[in-house]
């Protein structure tokens, strides 16, 4: 009895102590743990040119990286770099430089920390980093980019506190990181690599931001050479979701939260692209870097910041006036018929959207995953269903997945848009077009 009592009481006290410690550790702050670092990129670094169609099936759920590796082994990609092959020392230096620039998930930034805010022992180092960054600014950012342009990237309308380039650890990014952790991380991953726990289990796979390219833009590559989206484009995608994919609509979140999220996505994309690019260069053309890897990383970070700022400053692609605002049904039918002819003829849509997309073939997109031209007989449009969305898709293309940009005359553009809009609704098509698109059974295509 006694022995039992003491043994039992002793273990109970220890257990109770452990519970107290454990519960004290439970917080509900939404924040990333302060000690958490962005993971180093481990998956293959690719460059692809999506020109070839493949008659292959989608890999089964859960096989994102396995499938990419398999395709890489079959030499289907133009450039493949395995981060494992990079010299450990260079890798460590890169990681360090990235952290100086972009901080940690709990304290994200897009430029080196201000020395006064650095921890005591690290002030001198921070001062040096900042000096280096500032010395590279004018040369790499571009004359057209002002402080305000960059501030716009990393602030939201709710936190319109004025920030300078040298103090970009804005509250916006920190709040964005909390929101991201809560709403996005499951799919898009801590590093924005599209490899969160859910990432491989949904198809289309969540966007991997680390190449700095995105699909749905309101600008064209001709206007913005870098092909970066406007911040507004990201916000619209967040707000409306992407129909037909697992990207949900976050329209119920307040506007300033969407802005915070978009800013954080820009931060992740910047960080990822600098890493992507440096790994590419390290593996293929190390001379370009010379012996100062840190300086190279800083330069690239500034250049890409400039690209993002430039894109966000850009006016969206302004379409020509819509000629059919007050068209009669007959005029509309004529426009659709003309659009149909363009679709099967001059615009060469059928080449990829085979059988109006019902039988499109797969090809590899910029991220090494399989995509195919949209089935346009269904009623969902991933980039948005408004005529202007479809106009932007056609005129700007979707470069990362191989949809080319089309330069058509103003009226032709709108004819094509009208046709694509009417395509899923047989009742909206003129009879002859309807028979072509929806042949009744027995009729040949």
């Amino acid at each position: 009895m006694h022995r039992q009592a003491t043994t039992l009481s002793r273990s109970l006290v220890v257990a109770a102590g452990l519970v107290v410690i454990f519960l004290a550790g439970c917080d509900d702050s939404n924040r990333y743990p302060a000690a958490l670092r962005y993971p180093e990129r481990a998956d293959l670094v690719l460059k692809t040119e999506n020109t070839t169609d493949y008659r292959v099936a989608l890999p089964p759920p859960g096989k994102l990286d396995e499938a990419i590796r398999e395709a890489a082994d079959k030499k289907l990609f133009q450039v493949v770099v395995d981060p494992k092959d990079i010299d450990r020392k260079d890798r460590a230096e890169l990681t360090k430089a990235l952290e100086e620039l972009f901080g940690t998930p709990a304290a994200p930034s897009i430029a080196p920390i201000e020395p006064t805010r650095a921890p005591r022992g690290k002030r001198e180092e921070a001062e040096e980093n900042l000096k280096l960054y500032e010395s590279l600014l004018s040369e790499n950012l571009g004359e057209d980019i002002s402080d305000d342009d960059i501030t716009y990237l990393v602030t939201d309308s709710d936190t319109l506190n004025k920030l300078t380039v040298v103090d970009p650890r804005s509250t916006t990014l920190a709040k964005g990181s909390e929101l991201y952790r809560r709403h996005c991380m499951h799919c898009h991953g801590v590093a924005g690599d599209g490899r969160g726990p859910t990432g491989a289990w949904v198809d289309p796979h969540p966007r991997d931001y680390r190449q700095g390219v995105f699909k749905f833009l309101s600008t064209t590559k001709a206007a913005i050479a870098s092909g970066k989206p406007r911040k507004e484009d990201l916000i619209r995608t967040l707000e409306k979701g992407i129909d037909g994919t697992s990207m949900p609509a976050f329209g119920l979140l307040p506007r300033h939260e969407l802005e915070q999220l978009a800013s954080y996505v820009i931060h992740l994309s910047l960080r990822g692209e600098v890493e992507y690019d440096t790994l590419m260069v390290l593996a293929r053309d190390k001379n370009q870097i010379g012996d100062d890897l840190k300086k190279f990383v800083y330069q690239r970070a500034i250049q890409y910041t400039g690209q993002w700022a430039r894109a966000s400053k850009m006016e969206p692609n302004r379409p020509a006036a819509y000629p059919y605002s007050s068209a009669t049904p007959e005029e509309m039918h004529e426009s659709i018929s003309r659009g149909y002819k363009l679709f099967i003829g001059k615009a060469e849509c059928l080449k990829c959207h085979m059988d109006y997309g019902r039988q499109s073939a797969y090809r590899y997109d910029a991220w090494g995953t399989l995509v195919r031209a949209r089935n346009l007989t269904e009623t969902n449009y991933r980039g948005g269903r408004r005529p202007i969305d479809i106009y932007w898709r056609i005129s700007g293309g979707i470069p990362p997945s191989g949809m080319p940009a089309h330069a058509l005359a103003d009226q032709e553009m709108w004819d094509l848009v009208n046709f694509v809009q009417a395509l899923p609704y047989p009742g909206m098509l003129p009879d002859d077009v309807k028979h072509k698109v929806y042949p009744s059974p027995g009729e040949k295509h």
């Binding site: 009895m1 022995r3 039992q4 009592a5 043994t7 039992l8 273990s11 109970l12 257990a15 109770a16 519970v19 410690i21 454990f22 519960l23 550790g25 439970c26 917080d27 509900d28 702050s29 939404n30 990333y32 743990p33 958490l36 993971p39 099936a57 989608l58 089964p60 759920p61 859960g62 096989k63 998930p105 952790r181 809560r182 991380m185 499951h186 991953g189 801590v190 490899r195 969160g196 726990p197 859910t198 990432g199 289990w201 949904v202 198809d203 289309p204 037909g244 994919t245 697992s246």
Partner: protein, 602 residues
């Protein structure tokens, strides 16, 4: 009439049994019962750990989980991933139901008590009995293995509703599921595991029914059987009739998942982004009918034996005959009978014809009646008694007190319009935990404290038993009672994070309170484990009949030898003759020829 012969002497003929035959591949019902008991105890801790993970996530949905967070894969950002959470609550329920409560109630107590309480030397089919235990092992191995396969263990709830559970890629393109990581290999192993559990239970049921019908000692008429035996008997019948339906359902889903059949896949198939299941020809609702045709009776399989044991224990420690023995028997039979025609109450909102809902509602409401009758009779039993507050009795009384809550909360969801609101909220979670944790588990604790001396020949420590009881009673109520309240607030079940909802987020403080209570509740169980194993080795030796109980098992030595009784017992009266005015001692064992005039139980 019941049989019993020189079987006892025969079993004494082979005393030289190897350790392996005696304790591992034993055909002795007592050893098998104890094997089930230990297996259940281990799985209780697995299921409990899973429950605590659920509470951690629900209590602190956006927090970083201390210590454990570091063990998660790096891509999770030290936060539990949503699919991991679905896996955790699905497996918590599956483990608790199929590997703890059912094996404990029917496997452990059914095996241990049936031959002893009816005066038989062993089960009718000892080999079958042994196999029934060993078929649990493939089930255990598959379910544990499933945690380590690609995508993790099953995560579609313990109900595994298609099409979330059954969705697969078209035949020939792998076993991963487009519906989510846990619906792939983990789900397949879950189905296989449950098939094994089913085989095990079926073998047990056949054995119990045969043994009870054929092997009662001389004088042990049906209406002289203790309530535990009645409960086990009716449970075994329930199980034997309902299990085949579950087995069919499991096989159909297994075929859907492995061979690409489409029993639960609608004609148009399903689209998950770019993945498509291909066309089907089935109906997802079919699963729900088949599953609940088993699983509603299963709810009773998980409580009737506890009711039986509690009836016995209450009568012993109130030192008073069980009040309304026959109404109690009829009530159990009534619950079992009605239990087969109420399965649709789980499907009121499923898209089943609402007119069917009305019919199921009527049957369901009436099932409250036999439950009420049982409660009133337990109260009648202690009324006018001489109550001895042993740990076993306290647990049994807790069973009664908590079963009232679990029973009454059932009326809310039986009412179809109220169910529209509370279906799939925490009110349902509260209800099931008041029936299965607060009732069945307290019944099981009562049973363990009560029969421990007979099982192991030693007494458990009463003081620590009471400490364990007090903590468990308080903390379990703190953990589960507020679930009613958040259920009324509309808190949906199986939610990873309610704080994104304006309508629910104000309920979060209660979640934190329940999570803290749950962690403490989990820890309190270590007191029980310590007491159990300490007493097993160092507890004081138990006499033959430490509780002065009437039933037959107490006339055998503690623990009973192989073959149970020194000589075949003869039964002279019912099991509940306590406090008879004509005798000196306040009990009259069923085997005692001299005792008070033989009274037929009403």
């Amino acid at each position: 009439m019941s049989v019993s012969h020189s079987h006892t002497t025969e079993t004494h003929a082979h005393p030289e049994m190897s350790i392996l035959r005696k304790y591992v591949f034993s055909e002795d019902h007592k050893i098998i019962g104890i094997q089930f008991l230990f297996t259940g105890l281990i799985m209780l801790f697995v299921g409990g750990a899973l429950a605590l993970l659920v509470r951690l996530q629900v209590g602190w949905p956006n927090g970083t989980i201390p210590i454990i967070g570091r063990w998660f894969p790096a891509s999770w950002g030290e936060k539990m991933s949503p699919e991991f959470y679905t896996m955790v609550f699905s497996m918590h329920a599956s483990v608790m139901i199929f590997f703890v409560i059912i094996p404990w109630l029917t496997g452990a107590f059914g095996n241990f008590l049936i031959p002893l309480q009816i005066g038989a030397p062993d089960m009718a089919f000892p080999k079958l009995n042994m196999m029934s235990y060993w078929f649990m092992w493939p089930a255990l191995i598959t379910i544990i293995w499933s945690f380590f396969v690609e995508g993790g263990a099953a995560g579609s709830g313990w109900t595994s509703y298609p099409t979330l559970a059954s969705a697969g890629m078209p035949a020939g393109s792998g076993f991963q599921s487009p519906a989510g990581p846990p619906s792939g290999y983990g789900q397949i192993l879950w189905l296989v595991s449950l098939l094994f559990v089913g085989i095990s239970s079926m073998m047990g049921s056949v054995n119990y029914i045969t043994t009870i019908v054929n092997m009662r000692a001389p004088g042990m008429t049906f209406f002289r059987m203790p309530m535990s035996i009645w409960a086990m008997f009716i449970t075994a019948i329930l199980q034997a009739m309902a299990l085949p339906v579950l087995t069919v359902a499991l096989i159909l889903q297994l075929l859907d998942k492995t061979l690409g059949t489409t029993f639960f896949l609608p004609p148009a198939g399903m689209a998950f982004g770019n993945w498509h299941t291909g066309p089907g020809g089935g109906q997802p609702l079919l699963w729900q009918h088949l599953f609940w045709f088993y699983s509603h009776p299963a709810v009773y399989i998980m409580i009737l034996p506890a009711m039986g044991m509690v009836s016995d224990i209450i009568s012993v420690f109130a030192r008073k005959p069980l009040f309304g023995y026959k109404p109690m028997v009829y009530a159990i039979a009534g619950i079992a009978g009605l239990g087969f025609i109420v399965w649709g109450h789980h499907m009121f909102q499923s898209g089943m014809d609402p007119r069917l809902g009305t019919g199921f509602m009527l049957a369901t409401i009436m099932i409250a009646l036999p439950s009420a009758v049982k409660t009133f009779n337990w109260l009648g039993t202690i009324w006018g008694g001489n109550i001895k507050y042993t740990t076993a009795m306290l647990n049994a009384l807790a069973f009664v007190a908590m079963f009232v809550i679990g029973g009454l909360s059932g009326i809310f969801m039986a009412a179809t319009p109220v169910d529209v609101y509370i279906h799939d909220t925490y009110f349902i979670v509260a209800h099931i935990h008041y029936v299965l944790f607060m009732s069945s588990i307290f019944g099981i604790f009562a049973g363990i404290y009560f029969w421990f001396p007979k099982m192991f020949g030693r007494m458990m420590n009463e003081t620590w038993g009471k400490v364990h009881f007090v903590l468990t009673f308080i903390l379990a109520n703190c953990t589960f009672y507020p679930m009613h309240i958040i259920g009324v607030g509309g808190h949906p079940r199986r939610y990873y994070d309610i704080t994104i909802y304006d309508v629910f987020q104000h309920l979060q403080p209660l979640n934190v309170f329940m999570s803290v209570s749950a962690i403490l509740l989990g820890l309190a169980q270590f007191i029980f484990v310590a007491n159990f194993f300490y007493s097993l080795i160092w507890g004081p030796r138990a006499e033959r009949n430490p509780w002065h109980s009437n039933t037959l098992e107490w006339s055998a030595p503690s623990p009973p030898p192989h073959g149970n009784f020194e000589e075949t017992p003869v039964v002279y009266r019912g099991p509940y003759e306590y406090g008879h005015p004509d005798t000196e001692q306040d009990y009259a064992p069923q085997t005692d020829a001299k005792g008070p005039a033989v009274v037929a139980a009403h």
